[in-house]
């Protein structure tokens, strides 16, 4: 029987990790995901998991040990955030190039300098082309659910690509929420047995990982890597449908939407901000405003076809990015959306807002402000420039 628990996002992830019961976890503690590692360490100490827990001396070594372990034929997980994710960046590209099904939990946190332990998406966005599948959770329940599904996506034979589950620091990792935790046996059955591919421990069939490649083959190998990550798009949906069958929670889509069917304008955003924005959207729609909301859950591979389908009929769209585009025209989410819409005949005007940097609050009034901006832009087109929400200067 599933049970409803009062958990914060990090504890929900730790609970998922206990049920996944990985063969190896290699991790280095960092705020705001420290208590994932702490809680998991307790599971190890209590003998509740069979996991070999490698308490590495850095995040660079965390991902490196994950690479060694995963190439040796077993389930491997890690958790990190912010500086830790950037410190392991070199190894992330290796893990994906080796097609290793490692699952990484990232507690989204701003990057120094100046130092901030609070949330924004600048860490995971900085390595968005590392070859990891990236999914973004909106709350503790999704953090739990996506962590379990990430294992299936990463290990799927057509994907064989590492997956990063992004949950927002503090707003998800430290906020208590009501979480339905499935029965251990149900999760175990959903995941199935790990099937090793090209294991270093298969001593009768020795493999060479990481040979140096000259220009005559390198291009083809990297092109073929695209096949894996792009397959994650369909696989995420099929895994989600299967997950929905056993849990009743809807994971059939790689995005969440509200009100788009008859909307003129919409906000596109990711992660926990959706919940606040949803309340505002519901209220404003009650007063007859034709507005909607779209939240991509999957960012890599970017679900451009479905996003275009959802947005192309609108008149104006505001994309809310939660990372600072140093020197770029738009934030990374807006860049993706503008790119996806570019070749569509009839398309909405797109405006980019930066919000929530270093955990600056985005209050309901700010979403209200953005919707009013969009609606007024229908009468008079606004200047195409970067805008900032709740910036005090």
């Amino acid at each position: 029987m599933s049970k409803k628990l009062f958990l914060n996002g990090a504890d929900a992830v730790a609970e998922a990790m206990r049920q996944i019961n990985p063969d190896v976890v290699a991790a280095y503690p960092i705020t705001p995901t420290t208590h994932i590692v702490e809680k998991f360490s307790k599971f190890v100490a209590d003998g509740k998991v069979k996991t070999e827990f490698v308490t590495v001396e850095s995040e660079h070594s965390a991902m490196s040990a994950c690479i060694g372990a995963s190439a040796s034929g077993g389930r491997v997980m890690t958790a990190t955030a912010s500086q830790g994710l950037i410190y392991m960046a070199e190894a992330l590209f290796c893990a994906s190039g080796f097609r290793l099904p490692i699952v990484l939990i990232n507690g989204n946190r701003a990057l120094s300098s100046p130092l901030s332990i609070h949330t924004d998406h600048s860490d995971s966005m900085a390595i968005r082309d590392s070859g990891f599948v990236q999914v973004y959770a909106k709350n503790a329940q999704e953090a739990y659910d996506l962590t379990i599904q990430a294992i299936r996506i990463a290990e799927h034979k057509d994907v064989r690509t590492p997956v990063m589950v992004c949950i927002e620091g503090f707003q998800n990792t430290h906020t208590l929420d009501s979480v339905v935790v499935e029965d251990d046996e149900v999760v175990k059955k959903f995941l199935g047995e790990f099937e090793p591919v090209d294991s270093l421990l298969d001593i009768d069939n020795p493999v060479t990982y990481g040979a140096a490649v000259k220009p005559d083959f390198f291009f083809e190998i990297k092109r073929q890597q695209l096949e894996g990550i792009n397959c994650a798009y369909d696989v995420m949906k099929s895994v989600g449908e299967e997950f929905e069958k056993i849990t009743g929670r809807d994971y059939s889509k790689v995005y969440e939407e509200y009100g788009l069917e008859d909307a003129d304008v919409a906000i596109v955003l990711m992660s926990s901000s959706y919940s606040t924005a949803l309340g505002v959207t519901e209220n404003m729609r009650e007063s007859g405003k034709k507005i909607g909301l779209l939240r991509p859950k999957l960012f890599r591979p970017f679900p451009d076809t479905e996003i275009v389908e959802k947005l192309k009929g609108l008149k104006a769209v505001a994309v809310l990015d939660r990372s600072m585009p140093q020197g770029a025209k738009y934030g990374p989410l807006c860049t993706e959306i503008v790119t996806a819409l570019f070749n569509v005949g009839k398309r909405p005007k797109v405006y980019n807002f930066i919000h929530g940097i270093g955990s600056r609050e985005t209050y309901p009034s700010h979403y209200d402000e953005v919707f009013e901006f969009l609606l007024s832009s229908l009468d008079e087109v606004k200047e195409d420039k970067l805008r900032f929400l709740n910036l005090n200067e």
Binding site: S61, G68, G74
Partner: protein, 317 residues
Amino acid sequence: MFNANLKKLSQCPTRLEAGHRLCPGCGISVIMRQIMSVTDNPLVISNATGCFEICTGAYPYTAWNVPWIHSLFGNAASVIAGVEAMHKSLEKQGKLSGDQKKTLFMAVGGDGGTYDIGLQALSGAAERGHKFVYVCFDNEGYMNTGYQRSGATPYGAFTTTSQVGEAHTGKEQFRKDLTMIMAAHNIPYVAQSSPSNHFDLMKKADKAFKADGPAFINCLSVCPTSWKTDTQTGLKITQTAVDTCFWPLYEVENGVFKITYMPKEKLPIIAWLENQGRFKHLLKPENQHIIDALQKEVDTRWQKLIKLEEATAEDDK
């Protein structure tokens, strides 16, 4: 106790095949073959980026017929830690069979990947107690990128980033003593070795593989290309490093220091410098002070080692 003769050694499994692309006279393949010859157990190797990696794993070919992984420059020890952890996990779960259970784990790297960029990973893996053997083939510089200085480059040596000119005369710092750093980790086995003393090296490799925990072997490795030495006499030149006590051969077994080769006659440091192009400038009279300073440092470290042997031998009684 390791006991092998040439006949037995000639029959050991060939893990590193011919056809690799190392330079003529390179010390690394000699060292690796000597080390791997002491065991029949299955081996998994993690290789740091460098000459050895690039010359033995050149896609679509491989010189390896044992499982081998290279990923980055500074993470060979962390990768093997992950491999060893997975082995441990699967063994506990009863998922390994037969010879798989006897698998040994080895990480290898040059001085760049070991003394410098990979030191943290090595230190961490040693402290955590993974059962693995780390072999550093120390050729005293970043040779794969064309000979830049490393933490292991000797005082006074020319490198492409410690050039010889009007204002500076080669590397101006003494080399890092990595073997001592690893001994300070209090791991079961640490050794300093040279392929010129091959039985000494193989005995050490045997002890390293049998150690109950992490083991570290630091091995001086001639690089004719960058040392600017004759490709035929590499091992003789290496021997002068040993006989001048610039590179003493010793081991630290469970904290007990033992000098495993005592030169019959300790040669002056010039014997190590004189046949290498990278030290050519030191032979000029105006640079005698550099040789003197190097001699002094070598003598100080040698005396310290003798004292450590005496001190820990007493502890042993």
